[in-house]
Symmetry: C2
Subunit: 448 residues, 2 copies
């Protein structure tokens, strides 16, 4: 079967779906087709929650109803060949599709450590596949000792969720001195770690795995220090790599970190092919340098740029700020932009300010929880370059106000006099409001 389609999107997760929806919004008369391999699409950020709060992969799916509602066709199939000269692609199922514009949103693959013994049963990575996650869930339900390799967001979320309602010994091994260190400065990391401690989650930091033990099924791991830990299930959460097999096969340019090269409009080296999401190479908003930020929220932003630009450039992506959050127990951790350490590495001279307050006023209002915000400014220009929040769950929205301030290049004085709304049952008091007070504190430090 052969068909002609205006916009073909390869991949149907956060980036692909959003690119298709954006294309529909901006080009109402175009035909749009998503081709994806998976029968069912997982909510990527929800995957750790399958192992606790939401209970199964089936409870963590992106419903397909939105496709029909937006007149987007779906083909569950695998693209095996792209002919850019002919503007056609072939699927495993035998279909030939002619496209006018092509969007590659083929996502990423989990990094698997090439260690001795890693090919044994019960050594998992975080594959975005319903059957794979089902088998992982089954193994964890039977396990006594769970080893999680990597103490970033995903590792920490897996640890917290797997510990819930299970009599399970959970250990995180992290090669850096602290968990969550890529996203937070040390005192935030330490708070997160003390929450992990309070949940009896073991942490081994500044350590690597040397090899796995076992007899076909994993039994444990030997650390670089020589010590051994027991494990009947291993989860590797040590990052992802762009899935660029198709892009390479059709000779698109590839970036220095292994993603598909894109310009500010999310266009690849072929003007009729766009790329977005984890498969696309990223640059930092702050430095213009290649960036290792692979996040669903970056994927959807890139997709909103790509989808709108297909038949005429109207949007530009200024590079990744990196806005993300997590929760340990009931405590939220959220970050946007650079950490102090990251700023120094990027050549910034920075100064920070911190404000803490209960997120209600008076503090005895129901739902009151401490919310700490730290803001980071470039000293010379006084422009905001980063923020970290911790505490109340409204941190998840507060960090987006911080992101708006970063993206708009707001200075400390602009933020200190920024017009916010406050309410006894919803936020800190207007006197103590964290966003403006953290900026004031930084101004104090700048003037010293």
């Amino acid at each position: 079967m052969e068909r002609e389609i205006d916009v073909v999107v390869v991949g149907g997760s956060a980036a692909g779906l959003t690119a298709a929806l954006t294309a529909r919004r901006h080009y109402q008369d175009k035909s749009i087709l998503i081709i994806r391999r998976e029968e069912q699409v997982l909510i990527p950020c929800g995957i750790p929650y399958i192992f606790g709060t939401v209970e199964s992969p089936e409870n963590n799916l992106i419903p397909d109803a939105i496709l029909g509602k937006n007149d987007i066709e779906l083909l569950v199939d695998t693209v095996v060949d792209i002919d850019r000269a002919a503007k056609t692609l072939q699927t495993k199922g035998g279909e030939t599709v002619l496209y006018k514009k092509l969007v590659l949103s083929t996502g990423s693959l989990p990094v698997k450590l090439p260690l001795p013994g890693s090919d044994q049963d019960s050594v998992f990575a975080v594959e975005k596949s319903v059957p794979y996650l089902e088998s992982m869930l089954e193994e964890i339900d039977k396990a006594s000792d769970l080893l999680i390799i990597g103490g970033g967001f995903i590792g920490v979320e897996f640890a917290d969720e797997c510990k819930k309602n299970r009599n399970l010994n959970v250990t995180i091994v992290e090669m850096l001195p602290h968990c969550l260190q890529a996203a937070f400065d040390e005192d935030f990391c330490k708070q997160a770690e003390s929450l992990l401690d309070s949940k009896d989650i073991n942490r081994i930091t500044s350590e690597k795995i040397e090899r796995f033990t076992g007899d076909g099924k994993v039994k444990g791991a030997i650390l670089s220090s020589g010590s051994e830990i027991e494990a009947d299930v291993v989860i590797q959460s040590v990052g992802v790599k762009p899935n660029i097999a198709l892009a390479k096969e059709c000779d698109l340019d590839i970036g220095p970190l292994g993603g598909i090269s894109v310009d500010r409009s999310m266009c690849t080296s072929d003007p009729d092919v766009f790329a977005c999401g984890d498969c696309a190479e990223k640059v930092s908003f702050f430095t213009g340098q290649p960036s290792r930020l692979w996040l669903a929220s970056i994927a959807t932003t890139e997709a909103r740029v790509a989808g709108a630009n297909l038949f005429g450039i109207t949007r530009a992506y200024p590079g990744a700020i990196g806005v993300y959050s997590t929760v340990i127990g009931d405590t939220a951790f959220a970050t946007a932009g650079l950490t102090e350490k990251g700023a120094k590495k990027a050549g910034y001279c920075s100064v920070s300010g911190r404000a803490a307050s209960v997120n209600r006023h008076p503090g005895r209002m129901p739902g009151g929880a401490e919310l700490v915000l730290e803001l980071l400014f470039e000293r010379q220009t006084r422009v905001l370059i980063g923020g970290q929040a911790m505490g109340a769950k409204s941190s998840g929205e507060l960090i987006n106000a911080v992101s708006a301030c970063i993206q708009q290049g707001m200075t400390a004085d602009q933020i200190a006099t920024f017009q916010t709304g406050t309410h006894p049952a919803l936020t800190a008091s207007p006197i103590a409001y964290q966003l403006v007070n953290a900026a004031e504190e930084a101004i104090g430090a700048m003037n010293e």
Copy 2:
């Protein structure tokens, strides 16, 4: 007794306290004195919650400890005279204070309707006084029928709180067609009203009070339509007027809406006297016209401008955006900037976009609640001029991201590709995130 002080702040509520704290942050060597009449300072926005959730005025106070910590002196006394030529002021208690810079933050007084029978017992306004509120609480605890005049934020919050844990018949009389109409467009108002209905709070809209009945203590009210309602307690929540007695007495310029005239630096007609908070005249961020927005969050923002500018102008206030929120039951309502109706009145040609989603992903994550966001853009420039949110309590922070976007003049395209962070346990999914999707919807409407 006579003393010399660098910075004297008259008034110690949201504006006065924040002005003093800001002055301390920016001028570490100056002496700072707050003179206020009240022994204890109430959290202004918390006042309705005294009558339900927080139970008493004593539980809704701004603690004075922050003054000592910041080396700010306090004098509980009443200023009776200001001599601007001599730069001195006199207090009722007999003190003479010489100032270098004076900040007036004398607040506002509640409007009392000059109606027949309004001087009877149990006809209250919302006075910011602990003993007054204590007597009001005592009366409400004994009451059977409570009449609330004015269905704005304060009226609605009083109704919701007074109804809690009391067998009380509560009726709101509002002269406009809807409650909360000054802050929200009709469909948001209707949602709020249906929540009031579900709590058995009576509403009489498009009606005014003609007179009160009673024999020295109020017994009820006659409406303009002629009908009568019973009431053994009446609360008037029909707005405030700037408290400018002192400013008038010392001949400072007064603005068209009766507030102390101030420029962008919050300086009055006397270069050594600043004013901020409810007593200061306000202009709209959007129109530059006088504005009737009296909010604690505006007061504190103005105070941060005034306090920093005392000995050299470094900050400007761009006019009031108007960012505020409320809660009915568990449902938050938040607004920033112009409503559709307000935009039309101000001469804007506007276009809106709306997005709704659960504030979790998947929606079954704990704490999931619908969150609806409507954004309003100027059609020609595509710049954001307003936003209204309703639903989950994180609306209280989301509206501050909206405020940042308004204040920075962000366009619909900038917001649609704005970099946000999302998390299963904290926010909507990155695909459905309300802020960017409402902007996309508006773009669709603009392109039609």
